[in-house]
């Protein structure tokens, strides 16, 4: 049976620290755009920690929610792409093939989660910052869309290794950068087709819900809301 990668985000553990945001940038060669471009709305954060105020002082609360590509089973971003740059892989990921992308940005419009980012310029790193670049992740040229891949390079590396060693994949063996960095273990990644995996267990939790579930996109990220009992 093919794998079906999924993630669970326990918002009772997530404290909004933002480590996942920087971890993602470091792993995936996401270029820093600088203040001027950030002001124009060009900052690229494949994962972001959304925060929403609730109530008024003094009965005020702040809600955090990490949002990355939801890797929908019925992904609105995929069919709209004229060149198949955005398509579904056998293991359930919304692949984004940068080389096929011609930059219509239609996928980003169709994505209800706004997790797709456009490369407005060729990426650049002030030397020698480029020495940090991860050779397992391609750089994106100007004019293409990019987005969270669930760190597909890590998935590939481990699955290839597992196949070479002719053994079963262990739950938790693959960790995308955000999951790995999360000190509170708010993010859990794994194979949804493995009923024993932690992510399967959390995805079937009665606490669990999907983001914008009513749109019918069938996301593979499950959110476990913060408990309210004090």
């Amino acid at each position: 049976m093919p794998h079906r990668w999924g993630m669970a985000a326990d918002l009772d553990r997530c404290n909004g620290c933002g480590a996942c945001v920087v971890a993602c940038a470091a792993e995936n060669n996401i270029s820093t755009v600088g203040a001027e471009q950030a002001a124009l709305g060009r900052a690229k954060h494949w994962i972001r920690v959304e925060r929403y105020w609730e109530g008024e002082f003094p009965d005020v609360r702040l809600k955090f929610r990490p949002v990355m590509c939801q890797q929908c089973d019925n992904a609105p971003c995929e069919p709209v792409c004229p060149t198949y740059a955005s398509h579904h892989t056998d293991d359930g990921l919304n692949a984004q093939v940068y080389n096929r992308c011609i930059g219509t940005r239609y996928c980003a419009n169709a994505c209800p989660y706004n997790v797709r980012f456009f490369d407005f310029f060729n990426p650049s790193w002030e030397k020698p910052l480029q020495l940090q670049l991860n050779p397992d992740v391609s750089l994106r040229e100007v004019g293409v869309m990019e987005k969270c891949t669930f760190c597909v390079q890590r998935i590939k590396a481990v699955t290839v290794q597992v196949a070479a060693e002719d053994r079963e994949l262990k739950d938790g063996e693959i960790t995308p950068a955000c999951v790995q960095s999360c000190a509170a273990k708010a993010l859990v990644f794994g194979d949804l087709n493995d009923p024993e995996s932690e992510v399967s267990r959390l995805s079937h939790s009665p606490r669990g819900s999907k983001l914008l579930e009513d749109l019918g996109t069938l996301p593979k990220v499950t959110y476990l809301p913060r408990d309210t009992e004090a």
Binding site: C72, N74, A75, P76, E78, C81, Y84, H87, L218
Partner: protein, 167 residues
């Protein structure tokens, strides 16, 4: 090429010239009529063969439709990628492609039929006189048999206002 023709400013004269040529034993297919605008009011305008343009247009549509169907089906199945949970061969969206190519086929077939059946090409053949586009109707005969030239000239000169030319 030899030819004899008359130029007429009035439709009735031209019609009369045609009628006289017919009387002189010229077959309809040998009479050349050129008009500056369509003259549906004159019988001479109806000296054309039946056209199958509508049929060819339909045929073009069918070809376009088939091409679109094949294109969509073959390309989708030869690279069967899942997008957004849609079926690999999704007929509802394909219908749009099929419709557009059907219409394109029909349009292209119409144009081809027009060019072929109306004898349009970059080079001009047959009798022509620039006065046609200045409002005169031309009636004439190409390569008239030498024996009939005089009779034709007579027939063409008879209607009022006729100017007959020989080349």
């Amino acid at each position: 090429m030899k030819a004899i023709y008359g130029l007429y400013t009035h439709g009735a004269s031209a019609q009369s010239a045609v009628d006289r040529l017919r009387a002189a034993g010229v077959a309809d297919k040998d009479i050349t009529v050129l008009s500056p605008e369509p003259r549906e009011d004159l019988a001479l305008s109806h000296m054309h063969s039946r056209t199958y343009m509508w049929h060819f247009a339909c045929l073009g549509g069918v070809i376009g439709f088939s091409a679109a169907t094949a294109l969509a089906y073959i390309s989708e199945t030869s690279w069967p990628l899942n997008v957004g949970g849609l079926p690999v061969v999704a007929w509802w969206p394909n219908l749009i492609i099929m419709f557009e190519l059907t219409m394109l086929g029909a349009i292209v077939a119409t144009i081809i039929t027009l060019i072929v059946s109306a004898g349009l090409g970059v080079t001009r053949r047959g009798i022509y006189d620039p006065e046609v586009t200045s409002g005169s109707i031309l009636v004439g005969v190409e390569n008239p048999p030498d024996s009939s030239v005089d009779a034709f000239e007579q027939a063409l000169s008879a209607p009022p206002g006729a100017r007959v030319k020989k080349i």
